[in-house]
């Protein structure tokens, strides 16, 4: 009797251990996927809630040739408060990525709340006469501003 029971017991324990291992890996993987799904959902929801609008008119006055800067007013028409820093914006001027971007809240307060307006200054721009195109991207929302000098 003991001859049969011992191998059976070993096989039983082995099968349980393997099953537990498989279940453990499954739970671990699915937990990872769930976490990623949760983060992705929050990111997509934030992107949907984000909306900005460039309110400056396309006049040549937006470009200051002396200081080589372009000044644009941007309104937060979405539902989220956005950080009013240069890092919030991805700025592309005439197909070139620009990093010298400063942002100031112009209608009072420290934060760029919904309905608020910020002044975006893009520096180090040596623009000649002709048509120019500025693309501002905040959390997936892209706004295009075209003007002529």
């Amino acid at each position: 009797m003991a001859d049969v029971s011992v191998p059976s017991l070993i096989l039983f324990i082995a099968s349980i251990v393997i099953a537990a291992g498989v279940a453990g890996v499954l739970i671990d993987t699915v937990t990872g996927i769930s976490g990623a799904l949760d983060d992705r959902g929050a990111d997509v929801a934030d992107n949907i809630r984000t909306d900005i609008e460039i309110i400056s008119s396309a006049e040549s006055g937006v470009y200051d040739g002396t200081n080589q800067t372009v000044t644009l007013y941007v309104k937060n028409t979405g539902r989220r408060t956005l950080p009013a820093t240069g890092e919030t914006f991805d700025v592309i001027v005439d197909a070139q990525y620009r990093t010298n971007v400063s942002v100031d809240v112009v209608d009072g307060g420290d934060e760029w709340t919904p309905h608020g307006v910020v002044e975006v200054q893009i520096g180090d721009l040596n623009l000649g006469t002709g048509d120019h195109r500025i693309a501002l991207t905040v959390d997936g929302d892209e706004e295009i501003f075209r003007f002529n000098l």
Binding site: S8, L11, F12, A14, S15, I16, I18, A19, A20, V22, A23, G24, L26, I27, T29, V30, T31, I33, S34, G35, L37, D38, R40, G41, A42, V44, A45, D46, I48, R49, D51, E53, I55, S56, S57, E59, G61, V62, Y73, K75, T77, G78, R79, V106, D107, G108, P114, H115, V117, E119
Partner: protein
């Protein structure tokens, strides 16, 4: 051997149950967040489509350097006065005093009501005035009456 098979099946089944529970919670939460955001977005879109503003008159007083802008809400969306922005010659004017139908303290700018915006210290006659509602709908006027 029989116990081994049923035992391991039970363990794996339990694992699948826990995993699907976790996945469902995350997927449902995520879907709810996105659907909420989409709902809000479509409401905003509807509000935007129902919004229209019209600058009725722009009067510049040469003696007192004051600018008065009368804007009528010709849409059906009730707008926020504090959310409205004014650009004079492409420069933002944050310090404007406002009144809706004579009431200077209100933030409610309803349909068919006229918002009067007064800006002081405008040194020269402006060429162009632009008023932007809270949701980005704008109107501009280049006809400035000088008194």
């Amino acid at each position: 051997m029989g116990f081994g098979v049923s035992g391991s099946t039970a363990v794996i089944f339990l694992g699948v149950l826990i995993a699907s529970g976790t996945l469902y919670t995350a997927a449902a939460g995520s879907a709810e967040q996105i659907s909420d955001a989409r709902d809000g977005d479509s409401e905003d879109l509807l509000d935007r489509r129902n919004t229209e503003i019209d600058i009725a008159s722009v009067v510049y007083d040469n003696d007192s350097d004051a600018l008065e802008i009368d804007v009528r809400n010709t849409g059906t969306t009730t707008l926020s006065v504090n959310g409205t922005s004014v650009l004079v010659d492409n420069e933002h004017e944050p310090s404007a005093s406002t009144a809706v139908e004579g009431d200077g303290g209100t933030d409610v700018w309803g349909g068919d009501q006229t918002l009067v915006i007064n800006i002081s210290d405008v040194s020269a006659e402006p060429d162009r005035v632009k008023v932007i509602a809270e949701n980005g709908v704008a109107d501009s006027n280049s006809t400035v009456e000088v008194i």
